[in-house]
């Protein structure tokens, strides 16, 4: 069953076509990698899927529902969450508060209900707090829950960002370069972590990544973008031997080498 379908989407910024005719169909439970050289349009694709940019052409379906006209927060509420390439935590809030912001969309009580701390709200607040703590336990940050998010080391900030995204209870998780700036040991951790949360939260994951070890190691299916065009699609072995991909990454001279 298809969870996300990008039906030949194109986006132009003025005269520049950033992504052209992009097609993507993801089934529930898949782990798909999106790779390509710098400036290929990978993050632009994420921004279109999450509603930050509106595609110039083409339609996006999430759970067979068209989401072209939906706003970012509405799409998140439907069950799509993301992380950012350059970490965007709420740096001056505590680690726990960061995760609890992700739970905010499930608060049903009204503002006045919350201000006067009526039983309905206090129940919700407690549930949210428990859930956030549980998620922090999942990413091994529960001891740091009262620290400011901006003060965490880089690797933990990455994990906190994933925990915050999980707090929205997504079905589809988009990870934008989760291993960027990590050392080999942290990267290895991250790979098993991604697989662990996929199983535990029954997620479908799309990830952008430059670290080929990560992509080849955990993705079952890989899409390669170059200059906004999908140049290859397939499993890791196919991608590694695809001449188009080698050309995109190493340049034409590679043929003669």
């Amino acid at each position: 069953m298809s969870i996300l379908k990008a039906d030949h989407i194109t986006i132009r910024f003025g005269g520049l076509t950033a992504v052209s005719n992009f097609y993507l169909n993801i089934k529930e439970g898949e782990l798909v990698g999106l790779i390509g050289p710098n400036g290929a349009g990978k993050t632009t694709v994420f921004n279109m899927l999450t509603g930050v940019y509106k595609p110039t052409k083409g339609k996006i379906y999430f759970n067979n529902q068209e989401i072209n006209k939906k706003k970012v927060d509405q799409i998140t509420a439907l069950g799509m969450a993301r992380t950012f390439q350059n970490i965007r935590l709420f740096t001056n809030l505590s680690v726990l508060d960061n995760v609890m912001v992700g739970c905010h969309l499930r608060i049903k009580s009204s503002v006045l209900n919350a201000v006067f701390y009526l039983p309905q709200y206090s129940q919700e607040e407690n549930n949210v707090r428990e859930e956030a703590k549980q998620l922090l336990k999942e990413v091994n940050l529960e001891k740091l829950k009262n620290n400011l998010a901006g003060g965490l080391p880089y690797g933990q900030q990455r994990k906190l960002e994933i925990a915050r995204a999980l707090a929205t209870r997504p079905r589809l998780l988009l990870l934008d370069e989760p291993a960027a700036g990590m050392n080999p040991h942290e990267t290895k951790d991250l790979m098993s972590f991604i697989q662990k949360i996929q199983e535990k939260f029954k997620l479908t994951i799309v990830l952008i990544e430059h670290d080929m070890k990560v992509v080849m190691g955990i993705c079952k299916r890989i899409l390669v973008l170059d200059y906004g065009i999908t140049i290859a699609e397939g499993n890791p072995v196919e991608i590694q031997h695809n001449p188009e991909v080698i050309k995109a990454y190493l340049g034409v001279e590679a043929h003669y080498a």
Binding site: V52, D73, T76, A81, F90, I107, V111, Y117
Partner: protein, 353 residues
């Protein structure tokens, strides 16, 4: 743990009782001048805390507070003035019909003033909050100027530049301090709730907040409307305190004073705003002496009106240079802190809050 909870309860009750007793004594025995300053303290606290909700906690730089105060002051005054008083005031252009005969008790006029101000806050906020940073500041500043000019020219409703004079003096310490405490309580509960976390997340990173499912529009307008509500009430209290209002009372100068309060107190700290608001109200009176003619080193200096603001500007610069985040930054006073001070406890690390 049980005992601690009980102690907190006793602590809170004692504090509230002490405030009540203080207000009771102050209202009856203190000099009228001192009471007036204490009243201004309360009003500045309401204004500061409500503007800090918009500027400090939600990160939307608004300069429209004077406009909301004007709306609150006029709406309440038009509602609680007696028909006879209105007739005396509107001697050039008579007041239009329904307003000329209405008179309701002060307390209701106060609530309606807040609600009307909040309603205008919604109408202004809905289109303006699409803008960010400097642009929002300019547009909200424009709004408060529009209100001022509008009130100058709507003679049959506001009596134009003549203003309203001889307003009954309903404002007393019970009102100002009561409302100030209510405002602080309301805003503190709001920012500590899930909605408050969403507001702060917007301040921190709008893009990320939206991606986490925070409806930017709803939450920005929410903080704007709540801020406008309390600004309207503060305006109404101020009108009945000084007993005369005219559109120029609510010029940009007014907003600037509140901005000083929240910047000095710390954008994002209710405690800082309360301290700064109180100090500001007191200094405004104490520093009156620098505006009167004086002899300095044998030189005769004539009274220069506005010297006080010069001193405030210098104070503001000092605070910005040496306390980058204001006096309190984003820190807050808490019952726990007071409790530990009183019992001499070292700060304990709370487990499983």
């Amino acid at each position: 743990m049980k005992k601690k909870k009980k102690d907190y309860f006793i602590l809170k009750i004692t504090t509230i009782l002490m405030v009540v007793v203080f207000v009771f004594i102050a209202q009856r025995n203190f000099d009228a001048y001192v009471v007036r300053i204490l009243n201004l303290c309360g009003i500045y606290v309401i204004l500061g805390v409500s503007l800090n909700l918009i500027n400090g906690f939600t990160g939307q730089f608004s300069l429209g507070h004077a406009g909301f105060m004007a709306i609150g002051a006029y709406v309440s005054a038009l509602l609680y003035m007696s028909p006879e008083l209105k007739e005396v005031n509107y001697f050039i252009t008579p007041i239009i019909w329904p307003l000329s005969v209405i008179q309701i008790p002060f307390v209701f006029s106060l609530i309606i003033a807040g609600l009307v101000s909040a309603g205008v806050g919604f109408l202004v906020g809905a289109p303006c909050l699409r803008l960010k940073g400097d642009y929002l500041a300019i547009v909200t500043f424009g709004f408060s100027e529009i209100i001022r000019v509008l009130f100058c020219n709507l003679q049959s409703i506001t009596n134009g530049p003549l203003g309203l004079k001889g307003l009954p003096s309903y404002t007393n310490l019970w009102w100002t301090w009561g409302m100030a405490i209510f405002t602080v309580w309301f805003v503190k509960n709001l920012i500590n709730s899930s909605y408050g976390r969403a507001l702060k997340s917007i301040r921190e990173d709008e893009v990320a907040a939206e991606a986490m499912g925070v409806n930017l529009f709803y939450h920005k307008v929410l903080s704007f409307v709540v801020g406008a509500f309390f600004a309207g009430i503060a305006g109404a209290l101020l009108g009945s305190l000084v007993m005369t209002i005219d559109p120029n009372t609510f010029s940009f100068f007014m907003t600037f004073q509140i901005i000083i309060i929240i910047v000095v107190g710390g954008l994002g700290s209710v405690t800082g705003t309360v301290i700064a608001g109180t100090v500001f109200a007191i200094l405004m009176e104490v520093l009156r002496s620098v505006e009167s003619p004086m002899r300095l080193f044998g030189l005769h200096i004539p009274g220069i009106p506005g010297m006080r603001m010069l001193i405030f500007s210098i104070l503001l610069m000092i605070v910005i240079l040496f306390f980058h985040q204001g006096l309190m930054g984003t820190k807050e006073w808490s019952w726990e802190w007071l409790y530990n001070k009183l019992t001499g406890n070292k700060k304990e690390i709370e487990e499983g809050s």
